[in-house]
């Protein structure tokens, strides 16, 4: 054995070697037009969400829920004071729109995140353990998937009365994890028999270690991808619930705005009130979808293999 033991210089061991991969992934992402559009839209909405705190600070009347213009008591069109006009109670529509962006992100991302965490964990366990555990978990997933989401959620809402925003988030997550888990399970199944997993077993790794150290990192990119799709679905569900009157009455969301438009009979009378929330819902959904498609290209393993050799 060689006797010169060089003390390794610790500085050379990168703490987070995966940062390079993020950088490269970004380089690929940047080239995708859809991705750039999607990301720009999302940045715009994120700014809207951040700015939602500003209007009430300018003047109390700009508060989305409770701010009432002392001079206006009905729905009016865009003006200098109210850039998008006011709703039926004289509340500023623009501040409502900004607040809605905040809610959309909150609900969308939280619900998506929760469903991904649940779906990934369950999918990995089902795929790796197989047999009985797999069957039980997947039948459970099937049952949930088969249920008509909106109907069941409405029933729950009807049973429990008004729901808070976080209950809505939880319910969305509970209904959306099965889709994720199926995909993750399929991926886990294909990974389970790959030689590097066997190598880990031969090295003595426990099942838990294999799942979290070997399978999870290979499955996570897929999870993130699916998260973008889940966000759109979560936003839409929340909007639908709010529109139908089952939302959280203390939060202003775009769906809630649409409900107010409809309920107060302003559907055809106040386009400045009807269109902004509707367009926002469509655009943010589109933006997340584009994000997902661009990420797909980044994550496609074909792109990550070395250049073709003979």
């Amino acid at each position: 054995m060689k006797t010169d033991i060089e003390t390794p210089r610790k500085a050379h061991l990168k703490k987070f070697p995966w940062m390079d991969r993020l950088r490269r992934g970004w380089a690929i992402y940047k080239q995708n037009l859809l991705g750039k559009i999607g990301l720009s839209l999302l940045v715009m909405f994120a700014l809207m969400a951040l700015c939602s705190f500003i209007p009430p600070l300018i003047d109390k009347m700009y508060q989305p829920m409770t701010g009432v213009d002392p001079e206006i008591t009905r729905s009016t069109g865009p003006s200098l004071r109210h850039w998008l006009g006011t709703d039926f109670m004289g509340r500023d529509i623009l501040s409502q729109l900004l607040a809605g962006a905040r809610v959309a992100f909150l609900v969308g991302v939280s619900a998506a995140f929760m469903s991904i965490v649940m779906g990934t964990a369950i999918g990995m366990v089902a795929g790796y353990m197989g047999r009985f555990v797999d069957t039980v978990l997947m039948r459970l997933a099937d049952m949930i998937m088969v249920m008509p989401t909106m109907l069941v959620v409405l029933m729950i809402a009807a049973l429990f009365g008004q729901l808070t925003i976080w209950t809505i988030v939880l319910i969305i997550a509970l209904f959306r994890w099965p889709g994720v888990s199926r995909v993750i399970r399929a991926q886990t199944l294909s990974l389970k028999h790959r030689p590097f997993i066997e190598a880990a077993r031969v090295a003595g790794a426990s099942h838990l270690r294999i799942i979290f150290r070997h399978i999870m990192p290979n499955v996570l990119p897929l999870s993130f991808l699916y998260m973008t799709f889940r966000v759109t679905s979560a936003i839409i569900i929340e909007a639908a619930l709010a529109f139908l009157g089952f939302g959280d009455p203390s939060t202003v969301s775009w769906g809630m705005m649409l409900q107010w438009v409809w309920k107060t009979g302003h559907m055809f009378k106040a386009p400045y009130w009807l269109l902004p929330p509707g367009i926002c819902i469509s655009l943010i959904t589109l933006a997340f979808y584009m994000l997902g498609r661009a990420m797909d290209e980044v994550l496609d393993p074909r792109l990550r293999k070395e250049a073709g050799s003979d």
């Binding site: 070697p17 590097f196 190598a199």
Partner: protein
């Protein structure tokens, strides 16, 4: 200190049987039972490089997998240093990977694409809680240098897709070596690599034997590679041991018709005109034969006796000091 002159058997397989039941193909055949290994037995001596040569379907890889406990045999025993390993529990089970390790065939699939080189090689140390962070780094550095991934700094942060096939296989070998195992199964470690890269890997394996005093089981389909690397060669066909002996003897003086056929089939580098007489033990067309009775090589054997060889299975017997054959007609010439 392990002594290389100690000629005791480090690994022993005794009457190992391994079966697989296939679920039946789309076109309706019911689940067939495939006997991958049919009562095979052999011993591997401490410090040697033992070659197991066979074609696809011979069961050679299965034998390797049973030894590292990726799978369990249906019958038979495997002994490591005299102790049975087929049914291990508790602490001895946990320590088993520190004694027996495996190098896989496909360097493109045997490394986790999400782990850096450092992570991959240090993982066994992490699993077995060997040393602190500094010790681990030192161990990884040294191991990387001994497999030729030098300077280690160039490689530690790389990911598998940034490495060539040869480099990946070195990482896989480093991962095995870092635990300092007594016994290493190398399952066709070079079949997916180019010749010049394979040569590099062969030399690393030889050094592994010298420096770590590890015993090696080299599984391959190439008789020439086995001749180069191994002290003894065993030939396996359809789950049966056909021949076993010192490498040079098996190659220059093969006793089993299958071994002779393998030697005939090897390309001779254009030297075939040099008057090397082929053994010609292979039938041009396969015979009809029962799958479970008689010698497994009977359907293709030119020298077979149609009654005896089709009904009886020849036993794997010693025909001289160190040469074993499973053939009724193997003569000790």
């Amino acid at each position: 200190m392990k002594m290389t002159n100690d000629k005791k058997a480090i690994l022993e397989l005794e009457n190992i049987v391994k079966k697989y039941t296939s679920r039946g193909s789309f076109f309706g055949a019911h689940g067939k039972e495939i006997i991958a290994l049919n009562k095979i037995s052999f011993k591997i001596m401490r410090g040697e490089i033992f070659g197991l040569v066979g074609e696809s379907g011979s069961g050679k890889s299965t034998a390797g997998r049973l030894i590292v406990r990726l799978e369990k045999p249906e019958e038979g025993r495997i002994r490591l240093n005299g102790r049975e390993v087929t049914a291990l529990k508790g602490k001895t089970l946990k320590e088993f990977p520190r004694k027996v390790q495996m190098i896989f065939q496909d360097p493109y699939q045997s490394l986790n694409p999400q782990l850096s080189v450092f992570d991959t090689i240090s993982e066994p140390l992490v699993i077995h809680k060997i040393g602190n962070a500094g010790d681990k780094e030192t161990a990884v550095w040294q191991t990387m240098k001994s497999v030729g991934l030098s300077p280690p700094d160039d490689f530690i942060n790389r990911y598998p897709h940034q490495l060539s096939g040869g480099q990946r296989q070195r990482v896989a070998i480093a991962r095995v070596m870092v635990l300092n195992p007594d016994f290493v199964v190398a399952d066709e470690p070079t079949s997916m690599l180019d010749a010049s890269i394979s040569a590099q890997i062969f030399n690393i394996l030889i050094e592994m034997r010298e420096n770590l005093q590890a015993t090696l089981l080299f599984i391959t389909h190439s008789l020439s590679a086995a001749r180069y690397l191994c002290d003894r060669i065993a030939v396996i066909y359809k789950g049966h041991m056909m021949e076993l002996g010192p490498a040079d003897q098996v190659i220059q003086n093969p006793k089993h018709p299958y071994t002779k056929a393998l030697i005939d089939a090897l390309p001779k580098f254009g030297l075939s005109d040099e008057g090397i007489k082929p053994y010609n033990t292979l039938l041009p067309v396969k015979r009809e034969a029962s799958e479970h009775e008689g010698c497994p090589f009977f359907p293709r054997c030119m020298l077979a006796n149609t009654t005896k060889c089709s009904m009886e299975k020849p036993l794997f017997k010693k025909i001289d000091d160190s040469h074993w054959v499973a053939c009724f007609y193997a003569k000790n010439e």
